[in-house]
Symmetry: C2
Subunit: 418 residues, 2 copies
């Protein structure tokens, strides 16, 4: 079970969490819990570090910020004990959660959970602070912001957990953003691949890294609202969303628990910006000259289109980058104007990316044409298209985002019945 | 060097501390620093524990409260780095500071400082969170409130430090409380034994345990104000008080750096209470019947007087206990009224203990008679007397505390010259 910062914000909320954990422990004999710091605490600690040293040493930053989860792990163990449960905290260096030495953004290398498993088997609830680990050099590391989801999945894998329940602010994964489409439906289950596509294009429920790890390690995830009561846990009436393998999804469909849809969900992303380089010489290596420096600067280029221009031997190149990297990308390209040989740079951050996602489209043609026809019927201009096995994305004008999402949600039959 | 919670309260104050540490490091090549949590932080964490679980598990309490020093150790390391120093934090489990398993009040068993010494020799400042350690079971322990002084002395002993400088709210040890006697003088040096007597009877500068440890380990202590500037450190102009062995004190006196006084200081303590048991049968074992149950309950009995009563075969027994234990002591004695066979219990918490302290009195008679005469000349009634090799204490009426301290300070020639 994993609880985020909002659930851990203060001893009263921690008592609520402890009630849920106790209810779960009463059903299954062995429960490990991963906790975040109290909401706001990590920001407070990060600010201290910035005040102490603007160019802070990430190893010492980790010592400071990891303390937030240390506090909540001890407090949850104490609260569980006050409810009559056996419980103890296991700090990152105690488990140990071995990580790489990349302080501030370490990756988990291995979790040796033997000692913890022995205590779990003896009926003691393990409370593990998320976000923190131990480097080879014996120093405290952290996994980067939001890393507690990853900690939870890694601990679940290490103890071979039946399931990893992520309690969060939302009560599951929806077919699309319910703030845009009132008829959005909560999904009973999605596959890891679908979740990765939905997460990376805007459905911010889980850290992308944690979903990738769950897929690799075969950990069954469940996203749940932290406002679910302990009674619901006791009754096994948990209305969240399961995140599972293709194989398990097939079984759910075969067992009649799920209906197979061609499209599982619609995601949107307004955080991309468009760059057009005009009149680039149409010669071998021209595209490499543009994208190699961006890759070197860790700027993620997404959609790419090449339009043959009016003049022969020249072409316009259009692509998208994250808005946050737009200025940096522009500067890098201006520096290389001579080598690349373009005429003008045109940028536009008033664009949006709309994606339809679903494992069902692997075995079904027609999904793309439905998308293009539905949008054009409503006069929405598609500026670019990109596709993967389980996703089709289009670039449109940002103003038309909500309209496009609603149109597609209806077109793919995702609207909830009244 | 050790800095307390007031010195570490916020990043601005930590910057001031870092300046002092840097100045010291520029003089000596190797510096270790022990830090407390930010003022108020330990209270905040203790309250969280109490809210979580009124009867808290001390092992989890330690996990929570030790985080305060973890934060300040990381922040001081970061701040030192921002001033161009090499520095790193060493958490209790990293050094490691091995302690007993008595959570919440653990005693340090051993500090293995080899790894830290290697880094000190390489010119890196070591920042060690005070108050925390590691149990044999691999759990976080704490040393009890005020334990950071003890941590500092233990670290100083482990790295064979030339000196252990305790930066605190006061700027040294005085001949008496300057709030009572304006002419109190700061002492250049006191011996460990004198400091123990002065500390245990009211001069609250250092944790008693840390002085005892320093004496045992031969660590030279210096008490300094944390308001001393880095310039003073650079100039070696540190107007604190040294706490040293008898032998070093003799050398300071021989070298003309100190004048040997018969009396070093006057301490007072208003936290004792008096208990009188009337008409106790004057038979063998009667005293043991009274004091054995108090000792079993860890109630510290200090002064004891037996007055033969009017009736033959009976005696009044008077003694003092800490005010905080008075009610408990009274209840224990009432429970044993039958065995002890006393008539009445009379209690009085309006008393004070005044002590004159000095290694000089070992070789000088006259000190006690000066005390008794000076007090009686001012009409102050002495209710009880107790002595040790380097201390004479009297019990008087609490209202006369300030008068008695002033009279004695003058009588022993301790007043500062104008």
């Amino acid at each position: 079970m994993k609880f985020g910062g909002t659930s851990m914000a203060g001893t009263e909320r921690i008592r609520r969490v402890a009630g849920i954990v106790r209810a779960q422990a009463a059903k299954d004999s062995e429960v490990a819990v991963v906790v975040s710091a109290m909401a706001g605490e990590t920001d407070r600690l990060v600010n201290f570090c910035r005040e102490a040293n603007a160019l802070y040493d990430p190893a010492e930053y980790d010592v400071v910020v990891a303390s937030g989860e240390q506090v909540t792990s001890g407090l949850l163990a104490l609260t569980l004990q006050s409810l009559g449960c056996k419980a103890r905290s296991w700090l990152g260096w105690q488990v140990p959660v071995a990580t790489e030495s990349a302080h501030g953004k370490a990756r988990i290398a291995a979790i040796t959970a033997d000692a913890m498993i022995a205590r779990l088997e003896a009926g003691e609830i393990a409370v593990v602070p998320g976000f923190q680990g131990l480097s080879e050099e014996g120093r405290v590391t952290t996994l980067g912001r939001g890393g507690s989801d990853t900690s939870a999945v890694a601990v679940a894998a290490a103890i071979d957990a039946t399931r990893c329940d992520i309690y969060t602010d939302v009560d599951g994964v929806y077919t699309t953003d319910p703030r845009i489409v009132a008829k959005a439906r909560k999904l009973k289950a999605v596959t890891y691949e679908e979740m990765l596509e939905l997460a990376s294009v805007g459905a911010k429920v889980l850290q992308t890294r944690s979903v990738g790890l769950a897929m690799k390690a075969g950990v069954r995830l469940q996203v749940l609202s932290s406002f679910v009561g302990e009674d619901a846990v006791a009754a096994d009436d948990l209305p969240g969303t399961l995140i599972v393998s293709d194989q398990e999804m097939d079984e759910l469909v075969k067992g009649g628990e799920m209906e197979r849809q061609h499209v599982t969900g619609i995601a949107h992303d307004k955080n991309e910006a468009k760059i057009i380089l005009t009149r680039v010489p149409d010669k071998p290596g021209a595209v490499a000259d543009i994208f190699a420096p961006l890759a070197d600067a860790s700027i993620n280029v997404d959609m790419i289109i090449q339009n043959v221009g009016r003049d022969k031997g020249e072409t316009d190149v259009t692509f998208t980058v994250p808005q946050a990297d737009l200025a940096r990308a522009q500067a890098l390209l201006e520096d290389r104007r001579g080598e690349i040989g373009f005429n003008r740079i045109i940028t536009d951050s008033q664009i949006a990316k709309i994606s339809v996602v679903g494992v069902g489209m692997k075995s079904h043609a027609g999904v793309a044409s439905t998308m293009f026809r539905s949008l054009s019927d409503r006069g929405i201009n598609i500026q670019a298209i990109s596709t993967s096995e389980i996703k089709i994305s289009v670039m449109i004008d940002e103003d038309e985002t909500e309209l496009a999402v609603r149109v597609l949600h209806t077109a793919y039959g995702l609207d909830a019945e009244d």
